[in-house]
Amino acid sequence: MDDVKSNDSLILYIQNLFHDSADLIVRKITWKDGDGIICFFSTMTESSEVNKQIEILRLRSIAELPNWAGTATSSVEAFSVPKLVNSVTNGFVAIFFPATNLLMTITIPSFEVRSTTEPTNEFVIRGPHEGFVESIDKNISLIRKHLPIPDLVRKDILIGTDTNTKVTYVYIESIADKNVVNEVKTRLKNIDRSKIYSIGQIEDYLEDSVWSPFPQFLNTERPDRAVANLLEGKIVIFTDQSPSALIAPVTFFSFYESPDDFNGRVIVGSFFRMLRLFSFLIAVFLPAFYIAVVGFHSEILPFDLSRKVKLAVEFIPYRPIIEALIVELFIEIIREATIRLPAPIGPTIGIVGGLVIGDAIVNAGLVSNLMVVVVAMTAISSFVVPSVEMNTTIRIIRFPFMLAATFFGFFGIAILALILFIHLLNRSSLNQPYLSPVVPFDPSRFKNIFFRLPYYKNHKQQQTFKHGGGKRKKGDRN
C-alpha cells in the first residue's frame, strides 16, 4: 500500500518538475521487480515505438541477461533528478525504478517531421532556414529542439464547441510574467464561439483593441524568431493546422527587429535597425510632406530644387492629392495582382506595371515624375519592415496623412502625427504598454531600439515589460 502511495507522489513530483506540461507523460508500468515509472514528452517520441522497445527490454530482464538494459537504444544508470530532467527534455523515454534506484533511458526520437521549408514572407540571409508547419506537435518539437529546458511550458486549450480547435500557448516559466500568462489564459477561456479555426480569429479575441490599425501580436512562421521572443519572456500562441504563431506581449519596436540583426555583425545590425526605423518615417510621412510642400509651403524649397519642382508640377492637370492617389492606387493594384499571380508571371507584371506604365503615365502628363519618385520610394520603404501586418498598417495610415496635408499642409501633418502618437501611447499588448521603452521611458532598453548591441552586453535578462501601473480591469478592451 505504501509502495503505491509513494509511486503516486513520485509521479506528482515529476509532473511538478516539468510544471505539469501537457505533453509530458508520466505513468506507472509493471516490471519484474516492482513498478517502474515511465516518463517522456509525447511530442518528442514515437509513442507506438515506445511499447515495442519496452516489450523487448522486459523480455531481456525476465531472461535475467547480464546488463539486460544496455541495448543499442537504451542504457541504464544511477537515478538522479537532473539526469531524469535532462534525458526527458532531450527527447528520451526515461524509466525510473524506485526499488533499485536505477534510471533507464530509451531513445525513440520522432524529430523527422515533414520537411520544414523557409517561410516565404520572412526570409533571412543568415540563420536557420526552417519554418513552422501545420502541426502543433511538430512546431513545439521545433521549439524544444532549440530550447532543451524543463522551464519551457506548453499549455493546451480546446476552443469552439463545433470545431474543437486545439489552441496551444508556450512560455518559459522562469522568465515569463505570470500576470501576462494568466491574462492569456483568461482571454482564451473567455472565447465562446462555436466555430474557431484560424489564428486570425484567435487574434481578434486576444487583442487589447481590435479597432486600432496597429497589430498587437507579432505573427511569425520562424522557430528562431519564436525562440528569441520566448527567451525575452513572451508567450507564443499556436493553433493546430496553422503554421503561423502569435507572439505577445510585443511593443511597436518588436516589429522592426529581425532575426538577421543578431545573426549579422554588430555595426551592420545596428545600421539596418536604424534604416528600418527611418523607413517607417519615410513610408508614413513622405507623400504627405511632398503634398504639403507643393500645395502650401513652396518657400521651404531651396532655389535650385524649386526650379525642378516647378518644372515637374507646372503642366499637371490635377491637384497633388489626386495625383498621389492615382499613383498609390496604381501601385497597390500591381502589388495585389502580383500576389495572386503564379510565380513565373509575377515579375513580368511587375516590370510591365512598374516600368512601362509608370513611364507612360509621366510622359502622358497625368502625374509628375517627382510624384512617381515619392510614391515609389514610399512603397519600397513600407516593405522594409520585417513583418507583414505592420507593413499593411503603414500602407493604410499614410492615406489620412495625405488628406491632412491636402487640407492643412504641415499644420495638418503635425496635428495628425500628434493624434497618431496619442493613439500609440494608449495602446497595449496584453495590458503591457505598446510604446515601451519610449513611454514609459527606460534608458537602459531605449538604446536597443536603435542599436543592436553586442550580445554579451545584455547582462541582465531582457525583461521586456515591467509590472504594475495602468493595469486595466478585465473586460475593459479599449
Binding site: G295, F296, S298, F303, V309, V313, I316, G412
Partner: protein, 360 residues
Amino acid sequence: MKKILLVSIACSLLLAGCWDERLYKDITIVPLMGYDGEPGKWTGYFTHAVVANPDSISFSTVEGSGVSIEEARLDANRKTSESLDPTQVLVVLLSTKAVKTDLLETFDIAYRMPRTRLSSRFVVVEGDLAPFMEKTEKMGKEVPDYYDETLNTAIFASIIPDEDIQLAVRLLLDEGIDLQLPYVKMSETTGTPEVAGVALFSDKVFSGHTLDTKESTIIQILKKKPGDETMFTFEWEKEGKKYPVTVGLVKYNKKWNIKDSKINAAYKMKVQVNEFAYNHLDEEKKRKELEGFLSKELTNDFNEVIKKLQEAKSDPVGFGRTVRAFHPHLWKKGKWQDTFSELDINVKVDVEITRTGIIN
C-alpha cells in the same frame, strides 16, 4: 456632448487661416528683385520664372510701381500670368537712391510676413537699377543664378561680408556697429555687373561712400570674419627689379587697446606665401625682410581704410560694440558715428610667414 466637442475641435482646425493653400503650379518663383526710388514712389523689378514648355525654365523681368514696395509688387502682379511669389528670393538689388532712406521702413513687409526668406541678400548697385536686371551675354546663365553665384564667390574671397537680410536688420538696429552691403557696378569693359566692394552705411542710411575690393577685404579682416580665401598681392622691389608677392591669410588674432578717444589695434597674422618668384624663403634673413615689408604695407593699407571709414562716419568693424561694453564714458559722449569719426585709431599689423609652399 462628446460629439459636439469633437466637431468643435475639428472646426477649430479651419481657424488656422495662415495655412491657406497656394498651389505651387499656380505661383511663379521670383528669385531676384530690385527696388529703385524713394518713399512714396517706388519702382520694383521682379525677375520671375516662366515655364513655356515642360523641359526648360526661363526668366523674364516685370516692372511695377507704387507708394510702397508691396504696392509695386502688386502692380507688377497684374502684368504676369501667375502670381509673383517673392518667398524664393535670393538677391534683392537696391539702387543707391533707394538706400538713402531707412532700410527697415522700406522693407517692413519682409520682416513682418512669416513667409519671407531671411537667407536672401541685399545688394547695392551703382546708379540706375534697370540695366542690372537684364541678362547680358557675358553672364552665361540666368540673371538670378549669376548674382547668387557671384556673391558667393565674393564671400569666399572675403570681399563682401556673409550677411543675409536677417543679419542686416540686426546690424541696422545695433548702434555700436554699422551695416555694409555688397556694392555692384557695371563693368566698364564687359558691360556685366561685377562686385566692386562694399557700400558703407552710417546709422540707418547709405553714407554715400563705398570701398573697393581690397579695402573691403581689409574690413572683413578687421572684423575678424574673413572668408575662406583671403589674399593680398604686393610688389616687392629688390635690386631694381619688381617681384610680385601674393600672401594668403592662415590665422591671426586681434587685440584692441582702447584708452580715452584713442584706439590701438594690433593684428598678428600668420600668412602663407602663394607666389614669390624671388624665392629662397628658407633663409631666415630673407624671410624677416619680407615679413617687415608686408607688415609695413598692410599697416598702411589698414590705416587708410580706417580713415575712409571715419570719413564716411561708418563703423562696420564694430569698435562701438566693444566701447559700449567696456568704456561707457566714451560711449556716452554722443552719437557713436560722430564719436567714431573723431577718434584716433591706429592699426598695427605684424606678419609672420608660416608656410612657404612646397618649393623653398
